[in-house]
């Protein structure tokens, strides 16, 4: 029994995700070589545009690990953007104040949701649906106008870029193109690393897995299930708020429809990244790749330049379906094996 293969079903899912990403990206490079798909910057752009989503999806993964779900994230990102925009533009907050306010909103929002779900034991779907309505409605309560961020410091942050010393090329217009990344990318990757450490190396992180694996066992092994769940939703909303800040750095404005349907992207990314919806299995590395796969699909459809945008939705759902079925089959096989 000792030489049991270490690649169990769950690692396999992660492996499939990574391989899939590489294959898809590779195919893109081959087909759209003349359209610059192979440029290093294309890969970096994936990170730049999806930095916010990466944070949000990391939070979603944490919640899904406990066997829950948080569909309020998209609206919360929208609310964060609006608060930042309205605060900095109309109320003349400094960026630091705006960020602090947004983070506090995230924590409070998460605490309320977490309390209702973890302590009162109400289904996560319903509560976070209410959260979704609430946050989206609150944006409109603040203002239904489109608010631009005209704070100079914040604009400077948004504009900041880190030139990478390699992988440059001269484009058709004779300009030397050096690859670069922006601040959100660094923060997002940092968030991934920190979340990874939390999940892998802290007691709280392991409790998330334990609760997702078996709630009753976790309780009998002496873990505080209610608190763990509540913290999970707080973490999700907090990461979501960080994601909201990054999203804001990219979009520089707030309006009612901001980040609509982002929750579904986050869930899909987590699932594609190998997070089990029943809880207990998954990690943020997979989620990162899930986001990248989603981004790659978008980029492929974009680069094609002839397809309807619907195709990327369809491709993502097909992939989602594929992973769900794969997970289900693994689960059924496991059950069979146990008998």
């Amino acid at each position: 029994m000792k030489n049991k293969l270490k690649i169990g079903g769950n690692n396999l899912l992660l492996l499939i995700t990574i391989v899939l990403f590489i294959v898809m990206y590779g195919i893109g490079c081959v087909i759209y070589e003349d359209k610059g798909f192979g440029h290093f910057q294309t890969l970096l752009n994936l990170l730049i545009t999806n930095a916010g989503l990466i944070c949000v999806a990391c939070g979603m993964t944490c919640v899904m690990l406990t066997g829950g779900i948080d569909i309020s994230v998209g609206s919360l990102v929208g609310l964060d953007c609006m608060v930042m925009a309205y605060g900095m533009t109309n109320l003349k907050w400094s960026p630091a104040v705006a960020i602090a306010v947004v983070l506090i909103i995230g924590l409070v929002f998460g605490a309320v949701q977490g309390f209702l779900i973890g302590v009162l034991g109400i289904q996560p779907f319903i509560i976070t649906m209410a959260g979704m309505f609430f946050a989206r409605g609150m944006i409109a309560v603040i203002t239904t106008d489109m608010v631009n961020i005209n704070n100079e410091t914040f604009a400077k942050w948004a504009d900041w870029k880190l030139q990478l010393p390699f992988g440059g090329y001269t484009n058709r217009h004779g300009v030397m193109m050096n690859p670069f990344i922006r601040m959100p990318v660094i923060i997002a990757l940092l968030v991934v690393v920190i979340t990874f450490i939390i999940l892998k190396f802290t007691k709280f992180g392991r409790s998330l897995y334990a609760v997702g694996g078996s709630e009753s066992s976790a309780k009998l092994m002496g873990l505080n299930v209610k608190k763990t769940k509540m913290k999970a939703y707080m973490l999700s909303s907090l990461l979501c708020s960080i994601g909201g800040i990054l999203y804001c750095l990219n979009s520089m404005c707030g309006f009612v429809a901001q980040a609509k349907f982002m929750e579904m992207d986050a869930i899909a990314s987590s699932v594609i990244g190998g997070t089990l919806l029943t809880g207990g299995v998954g990690n943020v590395i997979g989620t990162l790749f899930g986001v990248l796969i989603k981004g790659t699909i978008d980029t492929l459809v974009n680069t094609n330049g002839k397809l309807l945008s619907s195709w990327s939705s369809i491709a993502i759902s097909a992939l989602l379906c594929f992973f769900i079925v794969l997970q289900a089959v693994f689960a059924l096989v496991k059950e069979k094996k146990k008998e």
């Binding site: 319903i126 209410a130 409109a140 369809i314 989602l320």
Partner: protein, 361 residues
Amino acid sequence: MSKEKNSFWKKCTGSKLFFPAVCLLVVILVNVIKSPSFLQISINNGVLYGRLIDIANRGSEIAILAIGMTLTIAVSAGTDISVGSVMALVASCCCTSLVGYGVNSASSVKMPIIFGVLFGIFIGGVCGCFNGFMVSNLKVQPMVATLVLYTAARAIGLVVSNNQNTYVHVKQYKYLGNFWHIGGWECPIPTPIFVAVICVILATLLLKKTALGMYIQAVGINPKAARIMGINSGLIIFLCYVICGLGAGIAGTVASSRIYSADSNNIGLNFEMDAILAVALGGNSLAGGKFSLAGSIIGAYTIQALSTTLLAFGVKTEQAPVIKAIVIVIIVVIQAPAIQSYMKNRKARKAGATGGEAVAK
């Protein structure tokens, strides 16, 4: 005599429909206070006219969806979040099959309208089969299983209708979503109301005249026991999702007929949330089991009444969700087991303290 009154009152308050009915009444009352003409129904231009008619008319789609949603929640404690998207897909399929692919606007149809409508409903059923298969055979959590079509169906709808609104400018196509004409006579009641009533009657017949209703509750409450006594739990779960899909199909064709076009971007947008909310408002537990269809229907019209009210009060469309959210939270918190047992304990303690008095009450 007063005792009798008490017992009647108790019967009313004890009924599962009490809470939803009160909600509906409260909403209507608020309106009546604001403008007494709210309850007024008149005949205008040969058709019924009034706010109440609007609520009944506009609430039809939610009511139809709520039927299916009630069943999926009852049988699997699972919400079908794909229904809104499926409505859009159904509308696209229906219109495209009538006028052909890529046609933006047509004033004649290629085949009898009934076939287009039936085809649309059939597509809804197919979507239901897909969801049902995922939930009952692959044992995927309902919300996640239906997430696939939630994202895909609307997009497929757009592909089917070539990314544009497909108009069917044919008089007959408007009947389903507006008023029915027979010869020169115009039916004074909006057709969607009939459709909703027919759906409710059909569903009631199916649930009451066959054993399906009993089976659904049995499977929802205790699938293991249901299996032991010979009920095919998987099949029942599957059936519920198919019914839910068919409901989405019907709702989709009605919504499409209202605007005699397939507007894939907007048809059914956020309807899944309203349908789930309707079920919850109807006093049904989202944890599955025993259900009350009547409650869900009342819930559906309560939501519509709420939406209409907010509109009449001039609350901005985008702000309305805040109020919806608060309503949801209040309802589920009242229903939460932790709160219920707390209340029960308090009641018991009170009863213990006051002795027999509480019993007499």
